[in-house]
């Protein structure tokens, strides 16, 4: 597949060579994406469409497979013998959670303070009501990097732009000097620099509203990330993040994973504009006539009438 030079690519290379010594171009042909120089302005090129291929979006930490994204006690009182809960039971095997050895480096532990650990557990128990992903809120960094959706990197000399399919959002990594944003952000304020062939990105100015995964792992607005992007091969990036948030974690910790180039010949970034998709989830209870909330399948009946979670200020306000 690779290094399949055709006439037009050769002419690109010749034209580029004519531009001058500033550009060193070793053209790499990647199936499905325009031929791209392996280097931009002397730096490795990360341009292209990428996607993680792991289970980190379910849980950063090692976990065994379980039968449903939400479960309930079955015949036994044991945690390991839970069965799928109503919201996912109709999905059968597609509603379960795959196991994983996790992406947290070292001992695999996330060093929560005792208070924060209690919140994390509560988050996991109330996943459907609390996870911002389910509401189609901006996913934040690093979560956007390993959600099960592709993203596209457009690498220039002073900016590296990352466009994400999920929620059609993006972030710009500034390699030049810019003032910070005037407010906290969902996607963070990213400032990058090169350390040899590694792109190092410092991310700050987060609000405390995004999560790391679907397991309730969270942070505060004190989150500070240092991301490192290194090409392992032309089609694989080693992605590492050092995560620091003294209000939530007792020490900095790290995650690492490969990001893979999407190699399909016709690959392009398509929209996943979920704002529209989650209206029923968010506002369905406010319809004049609620839509059907009962599913009668061949072997089971599921009623997913939503109960307002007690103590949720947003819903309490609606209930008045």
């Amino acid at each position: 597949m690779r290094i399949r030079l055709n006439g037009s690519m050769i002419s690109v290379a010749i034209a580029a060579a004519a531009v001058g010594a500033a550009v060193s171009m070793s053209v790499t042909q990647t199936a499905g994406q325009a031929s791209r120089p392996a280097r931009v302005e002397g730096k490795p090129s990360f341009s292209g469409i990428w996607q993680a291929n792991n289970e980190a979006h379910w849980d950063l930490q090692a976990h065994e497979a379980r039968p449903g994204a939400v479960t309930q006690p079955g015949a036994y009182p044991f945690a390991y013998a839970q069965v799928p809960a109503a919201p996912v039971v109709a999905l059968g095997a597609a509603g379960g959670v795959p196991g994983s050895l996790g992406v947290v480096e070292g001992d695999g532990q996330i060093p929560y303070t005792p208070d924060a650990l209690a919140i994390k557990k509560e988050n996991a128990d109330h996943w459907i009501d609390r996870d911002p992903e389910l509401k189609c809120y901006l996913p934040g960094i690093p979560r956007a990097m390993y959600m099960p959706y592709p993203f596209q990197i457009t690498q220039s000399t002073n900016k590296v732009h990352m466009a994400y399919a999920f929620a059609t959002t993006a972030r710009t990594i500034h390699l030049d000097t810019v003032d910070g944003p005037p407010d906290y952000t969902w996607m963070g304020h990213s400032v990058g620099r090169w350390e040899g062939d590694t792109l190092v990105v410092d991310v700050t100015n987060f609000n405390g509203k995004t999560w790391f995964d679907r397991a309730g792992n969270f942070h505060s607005d004190g989150l500070h990330l240092v991301e490192r992007f290194t090409l392992m091969t032309p089609d694989v990036i080693r992605y590492e993040v050092t995560i620091e948030d003294p209000r939530v974690f007792t020490r900095p910790w790290r995650i690492a994973m490969p990001l893979y180039r999407r190699m399909e010949p016709n690959m392009q970034l398509l929209e996943y504009r979920c704002t529209e998709f989650v209206e029923e989830f968010l506002y369905g209870n406010l319809r004049t006539r609620p839509l059907v909330t009962r599913w009668e399948g061949e072997t089971m009946t599921v009623d997913i009438t939503r109960k307002v979670p007690p103590g949720d200020r947003f819903y309490e306000w609606f209930r008045k």
Binding site: V19, M25, P37, S156, H174, L269, L286, T288
Partner: protein, 391 residues
């Protein structure tokens, strides 16, 4: 509710590059437009239209595309005296209070050189619509007026009820399911689909040329063989476009997108982007899935970028039309656009509209309140003070 709060701050006023009336962009004499390190024209940066130009041309300018210096100065002077207030309506009505905006919210930019953004047809006006488009628009208007007919808005003969009549009996059409996907606000909030795309945080779209309240920003980033454009529009309703530059054909026709399918190529120093595959849920002046755009982006100088877009939909307009405008580069360091599109995350207004409708129904059923159809929850604004530029 969906008014754009724009604070442009102290804009660095950069002399507008005088662009010829010919279609071909003219670059500043003696200055080659900047190029990227890999030799492509450099379109990168944050761009906006720093000047106010109406979409359509006032009849008094005929086929004239540009204002004279005197005309421009005079218009600036006239407009400087405007307070940008919303038009007043019947005193003592909710509608009058709902439109209590002024220049603090609707900042005004300097008068631009162009008499209109539309450069083709030569009269600077949107071409006539087709009979079927007119029929669709009339049917839509009729439905929306039916939902308003029992409200004070119609009783007081407000502009918002123009073409309709007052009738205290709620219209049976309140139970109607629309024949096309709704995109605009109506006086009914039975569920999310009755909301406008703006109220649902889904109004961002293309073509985007920043008319209306304050304009729009776009950041362009290039890489060899790729271009990304990120828009900041409409109170956090920004969106991204990644332009496919590998010469491949458009998406299959069953794959439709809110922002279409953008495929670009270089024609000399101009980036030409062909956009199709729009979703039937989008609406640009009545044009939906058949909308076809051809955009032309040309760097004309160190701080200027010319943007042109040919707009075509034979089911809506009797001929294609073209908009052209000149963008000015914005300060990179100040990073002045704050382009995180987080309208949806803070959208308490829309569920509140739905909830208020449910509460009104409940109150009416319990004989505590008037019929919900007698309240106007759709009209918030009937236009700003007369502006000599028109709209």
């Amino acid at each position: 509710m969906t008014r754009l709060f724009t604070s442009l701050g102290v804009a660095a006023v950069i002399a507008a590059v005088i662009v010829s009336v010919k279609l071909a962009p003219v670059t500043v004499a003696g200055q080659a437009p900047p190029r990227t390190a890999w030799g492509e024209p450099d379109l990168q940066g944050i761009w906006t239209n720093e000047f106010d130009v109406p979409l359509q041309r006032a009849a008094r300018y005929g086929n004239r595309e540009l204002l004279t210096d005197e005309e421009q100065a005079q218009l600036d002077q006239q407009r400087a005296a405007l307070l940008g207030r919303d038009r007043r309506v019947e005193r003592g009505t909710e509608l009058d209070v709902a439109g209590a905006y002024n220049a603090v919210f609707t900042s005004m930019k300097r008068t631009g050189r162009r008499t209109s953004l539309i450069v083709d047809p030569p009269d600077g006006r949107i071409p006539p619509t087709t009979p079927e488009a007119r029929q669709r628009a009339a049917a839509d208007r009729e439905f929306r007026l039916a939902l308003l007919r029992s409200t004070d808005t119609c009783k007081n003969k407000s502009t918002a009820c123009a073409g309709g009549t007052y009738d205290p009996t709620p219209s049976p059409r309140r139970a109607e399911v629309l024949s096309r996907y709704n995109t605009a606000r109506m006086n009914r909030h039975n569920g999310p689909e009755d909301g406008s795309l703006g109220d649902r945080c889904m109004s961002g779209g293309i073509p985007e040329f920043g008319t209306g309240f304050g304009g729009s920003f776009r950041r362009i980033v290039q890489t060899p063989g790729g271009i990304s454009i990120f828009y900041d529009v409409g109170q956090g309703q920004g969106f991204q476009r990644t332009i496919v530059m590998n010469g491949s054909p458009h998406l299959p026709s069953n794959v439709r997108q809110w922002f279409g399918d953008s495929r670009g190529r270089w024609e000399g120093d101009t980036l030409v982007i062909d956009v199709t595959n729009f979703s039937p849920k989008t609406d640009f002046m009545g044009s939906r899935e058949n909308l076809h755009l051809v955009e032309r982006w040309t760097r004309t100088g160190p701080n200027t970028l010319e943007y042109g877009v040919m707009i075509e939909d034979p089911t809506v307009w009797t001929r294609p039309w073209t908009v052209k405008e000149e963008f000015t580069k914005q300060n990179e360091k100040e990073n002045r656009i704050y382009y995180e599109p987080r309208c949806h995350e803070g959208n308490y207004g829309f569920p509140a509209l739905l909830l208020a409708a449910r509460l009104a129904e409940k109150a009416h059923a319990e004989r505590r309140g008037s019929h919900p159809a007698t309240k106007d929850n759709a009209t918030d604004f009937v236009g700003v003070e007369e502006n000599p530029l028109g709209r």
